[in-house]
């Protein structure tokens, strides 16, 4: 309940924040604090310094930039889910964000913080992965783009380097004809997903032209269900969808915990993928 001693730096500029992080590998970025503070309070994490980026300008807000939407890392979940730009151009992000924890957490927790935390049980990583988002990292050396497929390295581990801060994420607009759904399976409203499925489906003439499927909590990182995506290509919406979704657990290594064993998670991935695809395909 009481964190161990740490130093606190309220960064006045991005340069200062990056400098502090580059000079001390045990320093941690404090954004909304909704993932980090519980770890500190339970003394599961002992950072030397918390670098608070809450007052840095330019890290917050949603912008429509033509072919993509830019979401600033410090934008709160509540702002994301209510953003007209997000709900219009990348509704899957809004749908998943609305299922994150509870309103109190959504008012404090940030889009970038949740992604940089890299929890495969979090809802947003699988969504950004499915949408082929691009992570924008800033450091003293400048800006670096990291494709979503390369961002999540392992459990609670991203490819951000020491001295780098996640500044924002670019979500490409998929254009017309796409339908979306985030299917979250959890025991209570505030609980993490046992399994979650983020689905984007493009239909034409009653068939699936393209499908993107991201899986939450099916491995040490968020995963793409590539086998399902391939199997769905050209499939008529209807009974043919279910067999294609049987491949949902391919290549996954789901965890065992109090809420589910791996075989059950694999089963859920198939059922939930089928449901997510069905709902996404039903709303082109």
């Amino acid at each position: 309940m009481i964190p161990a001693r740490f130093d606190y730096l309220r960064a006045g500029s991005l340069e200062e924040a990056c400098q502090a992080l580059a000079s001390d590998e045990d320093a941690k970025v404090l954004a909304g604090g909704q993932s980090l503070l519980p770890l500190l309070r339970l003394r599961l994490s002992y950072p030397t310094t918390l670098v608070d980026i809450g007052r840095l300008p330019g890290l917050s807000g949603v912008e429509d930039r033509g072919d993509h939407v830019h979401i600033g890392a410090m934008t709160t979940h509540d702002e994301v889910m209510r953003s007209p730009v997000v709900t219009a151009a990348c509704p899957l992000v809004a749908m998943a964000t609305a299922t994150v924890a509870d309103p109190a957490v959504r008012h404090r927790g940030t889009f970038g913080g949740s992604l940089a935390h890299g929890d495969p049980a979090g809802d947003l990583p699988a969504v950004v992965l499915a949408l082929d988002g691009v992570f924008v990292a800033r450091s003293a050396r400048g800006e670096r783009d990291i494709p979503a497929a390369e961002f999540f390295v392992d459990y609670l581990e991203s490819s951000l380097r020491p001295g780098e801060i996640l500044a924002g994420v670019r979500i490409p607009k998929l254009g017309e004809g796409w339908g979306y759904h985030y299917e979250k399976f959890h025991r209570t409203a505030q609980a993490w997903a046992i399994v979650g499925v983020a689905a984007a489906v493009k239909r034409s003439n009653g068939a699936i032209q393209e499908a993107r499927v991201g899986l939450t909590n099916m491995g040490s990182t968020p995963l793409r269900a590539r086998a399902v995506e391939a199997a769905l290509r050209g499939v008529e919406v209807g009974e043919q969808v279910r067999p294609a979704c049987e491949a949902a657990a391919e290549g996954t290594s789901p965890p065992a915990d109090l809420h589910a064993q791996p075989d059950y998670r694999r089963h859920l991935a198939k059922v939930l993928t089928y449901r997510a695809i069905g709902k996404a395909a039903g709303a082109p």
Binding site: R41, F185, T188, L258, Q261
Partner: protein, 803 residues
């Protein structure tokens, strides 16, 4: 916030038509908004953790990471040297004065009550047991200092499974062995009942271990002036605690004051004499400065006593038409590592309740209490009665399934009819009143029972992946704990009376003092309603004082749905004594015989004349004492204790419909109807709140909550992320209603409502889950019915039991 705002929710409920507000002037029966709430909701609260004392220090405890180990060395010196740390102690440092935490309920002759030092000295027996403590100027320094304490442990084997624990070659939790006690109660010829019985149902159910999870974590503040001691604690039992702390610490009772300030829920978890209470008192004695301890949620999950944890083997013998011949119950009850205040008594509170509302010829109850290396269990909302109700109500559904009849019909063929009350059951309790037919008929109507059965049949026919299940629970419970004479027969260490006082103030206002100790129940409001009717004074002219042994000097506190049934009646009786005194004074002043006076609307009136004196005028006359009759004291103040002759027996019918997604195992409650008979109702709004909260807690056992230890004795559910408590978002709207057969055991006709919802709801929900899956061969799903367990039951693999 105005009173109007604070009571808005209550007002909405009261106006919603769900609660019929009686006409007339009486306060009893009115959905009064709670007097407590404006203060609580606007943060003007006195939680123990909010309290400050000059020079106050913070205590933190170092807790064992081992389930079972010998302590070979504790070195606190490095902690003592840290800045801001005033003291650090090991259990050894208090070995001579800390005594043993008390167990007040030696339930059998063979019971073993092991020594239970508040801080472990030579051996730890569960993860979380205190082994050392630090006292520092603030909690941050104290928390850091804990990490500087060195403890060497020599590991001993953990004892986790009750069956294993009872085998001869099991490692021992205590030198005396792993059996805490065993007891058997028999009534009727059980052998005969089972011999050649046409139907025998034989089942084993697991009552999982639960963590009570009160909203307010525990906190203790202790101070001394060198002569007297004051202990503030987030407790349900300031009076019991004072007595037990005096006995445990040797501090004389008259020099110890215990205060329960605002207390944010307990559910039985604060019906305890805790290590932290004893140690804070000893620390303030040793250091001469006030000390405070406040627990974190994780610390609480580890060390607040747990609830339930039984393995129930239940066998029922019946005739071919479903009439019950006899019932056999064998319990293994997990005590955890020690016997705390009423640990062994909890399963025994269910001993007389497995037979429930049903008539039968024979009954046998056997219980073995087992030590394991886990946190001790003790009272948790319902305490023994939810366990009993679960087992019998589950088995009644199994009986119905075996016979191919409707589960309500199986019950109808066996329950006590309303014209058979008072009825002495096979276990020897006398139920004073009840009407199971009326409650069931009402519940069925509200539920739309037949229509839901039709939908269920339709979904079964269609092979719908989402199946509908209907669960029944026709429960009763034994509450109003308890008649002192019966507690004595059960070998309980205290009585069960309650005390109430009434002070008539000179201005005509009233102070009611109660020995009950509310921690969320709304006694201030309900007791005001009782006194307002009895004395004829306005509701707003009454204040209720409680929870401080210097103010409410006698009491047995709040648990077991006892407060209204015993404490509320004590208040009523004290009011009657006030009126007796006032009548004599009025007769004197009005120059008439006391018999010529009638009391109405707060005034004594001389029959046939207009002459009268109000109770307020009489209070003032007693205060001035200018003209008192011979032998009358200068006060109307009175007190009374009430000790009932019998328990009270609320009952009701709860019906639950669930949708079970057979592809994922997810259970969703579709509708829930509760018709409860809690006798006369003082405040329908408060009753409604108790029923809602109670159902939520019972549903939580059925679907969500479970304290899980691993094989080494580590608690895996130490945080709220792992121990799942449902919130409003996870629960359906409850449809509630009441039938009313007044209790004959007290003048208010009340029965108690604190535990009813919890006792009733768990079997209703699980019966519904099993009902949904029965055509697929499922006959049990272990609680909590998690999606994974339900899915495995459907698959026919572990997690469910198939016929």
């Amino acid at each position: 916030m105005t009173e109007l705002d604070a009571g808005l929710v209550g007002e909405q409920i009261a106006e919603s038509g769900q609660i019929a507000e009686p006409t007339g002037r009486g306060e009893i029966g009115r959905a009064r908004r709670r007097k407590e709430d404006a203060r609580l909701l606007t943060g003007h609260t006195r939680w123990t953790d909010n309290l400050q004392q000059p020079g106050m220090l913070q205590v933190m405890f170092l807790r064992s990471p081992m389930a079972h180990a010998r302590i070979t060395r504790v070195d606190v010196s490095a902690a003592r040297d840290l800045p801001g740390v005033l003291a650090a102690f090991s259990g050894q440092d208090f070995a001579d004065e800390q005594g043993s935490l008390p167990c007040a309920w030696p339930v059998s002759e063979d019971i073993v009550i092991p020594d239970h030092p508040p801080m472990a000295v030579s051996e730890v027996r569960y993860v979380g047991e205190a082994v050392a403590c630090v006292v520092a100027t603030d909690r941050y320094r104290a928390a850091d200092a804990l990490e500087a304490i060195e403890v060497d442990y020599e590991p001993l084997p953990a004892v986790m499974d009750m069956h294993d624990a009872l085998t001869p070659d099991s490692p021992k939790v205590h030198e005396s062995g792993n059996k805490a006690f065993s007891t058997t109660i028999t009534s009727g010829d059980v052998e005969a009942a089972f011999r050649d019985a046409p139907v025998v149902i034989d089942r084993t159910y697991i009552q999982q271990r639960l963590i009570p999870s009160a909203m307010e974590p525990r906190a203790v503040l202790a101070s001394t002036d060198g002569d007297t001691f004051t202990l503030w604690s987030s407790t349900q039992i300031p009076h019991v605690l004072r007595v037990m702390l005096a006995v445990t610490t040797g501090i004389p009772e008259h020099r110890l004051r215990v205060i329960a300030p605002d207390v944010g829920g307990g559910f039985g978890s604060k019906l305890q004499v805790t290590a932290e209470e004893v140690l804070c008192l000893l620390l303030t004695r040793r250091l001469g400065r006030p000390v405070k301890w406040s627990e974190s949620r994780t610390e609480g999950n580890l060390t607040v006593h747990h609830g339930r944890d039984q393995i129930q083997h239940i066998r029922l013998a019946a005739e071919a038409d479903g009439r019950i011949r006899g019932l056999r119950v064998e319990l293994l009850a997990d005590m955890g590592a020690y016997l705390m205040l009423v640990t062994p008594g909890v399963p025994m509170l269910g001993a007389s309740m497995f037979n429930a509302i049903y008539k039968m010829d024979a009954y046998e109850f056997a219980c073995t209490g087992v030590f394991t290396t886990k946190m001790p269990t003790d009272a948790y909302r319902g305490a023994g009665r939810p366990e009993a109700t679960y087992a019998i109500e589950r088995v009644m559904d199994e009986l119905a399934a075996e016979l191919g009849i409707d589960p309500l019909e199986a019950r109808r063929r066996n329950w006590i009819r309303h014209d058979e009350f008072p009825y002495t059951t096979i276990s020897g309790l006398t139920y004073d009143s009840g009407n199971y037919e009326a409650a069931t008929d009402r519940a069925m109507a509200l539920f739309g029972y037949d229509k839901l059965r039709a939908e269920q049949a339709d979904r079964r026919d269609r092979g719908d992946p989402v199946q509908l299940g209907i669960g029944v629970s026709t429960y009763t419970e034994m509450c109003g704990l308890a008649p002192s004479r019966l507690l004595g027969m059960a070998n309980y260490g205290a009585g069960g009376w309650e005390h109430g006082s009434v002070r008539m103030l000179p201005t005509g206002k009233v102070e009611v003092i109660t020995g009950t100790s509310p921690h969320g129940q709304g006694h201030v409001t309900s007791w005001s309603q009782i006194a307002a009717d009895a004395l004829g004074v306005p509701f707003d002219d009454i204040t209720v004082l409680h929870g401080d042994t210097a103010v409410a000097h006698k009491g047995m506190d709040t648990y077991g749905s006892r407060s209204l049934v015993i404490g509320g009646v004590a208040v009523l009786k004290a009011c009657e004594k006030v009126k007796d005194k006032a009548r004599k004074l009025a007769a004197h002043l009005l120059e008439c015989s006391p018999d010529d006076l009638e009391f109405e609307a707060g005034a004594f009136k001389v029959r046939g004349t207009g002459a009268s004196r109000t109770i307020q005028e009489l209070a003032f006359a007693a205060f001035t004492a200018h003209d008192l009759p011979e032998g009358v004291e200068a006060r109307l103040d009175s007190d009374a204790t009430f000790d009932p002759d019998n328990y009270s027996f609320p009952h009701g019918t709860h019906l639950c419909a669930v949708e079970v997604d057979t592809e994922t195992g997810m259970v969703k409650i579709r509708s829930y109807v509760a018709v409860d008979d809690v006798g006369k109702v003082v405040n329908p709004l408060i009753v409604e709140g108790q029923v809602h909260g109670g159902i939520a807690q019972g549903v939580a056992q059925a679907l969500f909550e479970e304290a899980v230890y691993d094989a080494d004795g580590n608690l895996l559910t130490a945080t709220m992320a792992d121990y799942l408590l449902p919130s409003a978002a996870d629960l359906p709207a409850f449809t509630t209603d009441r039938t009313e057969t007044p209790s004959t055991g007290n003048p208010l006709g009340v029965k108690g409502v604190g535990e009813a919802g919890t006792i009733a709801s768990t079997p209703a929900v699980v019966n519904a889950v099993v009902d949904a899956l029965r055509p697929r061969g499922v006959r049990d799903v272990q609680m909590p019915c998690t999606p994974e367990r339900v899915w495995r039951a459907v698959q026919g693999t572990r997690g469910g039991v198939r016929s």
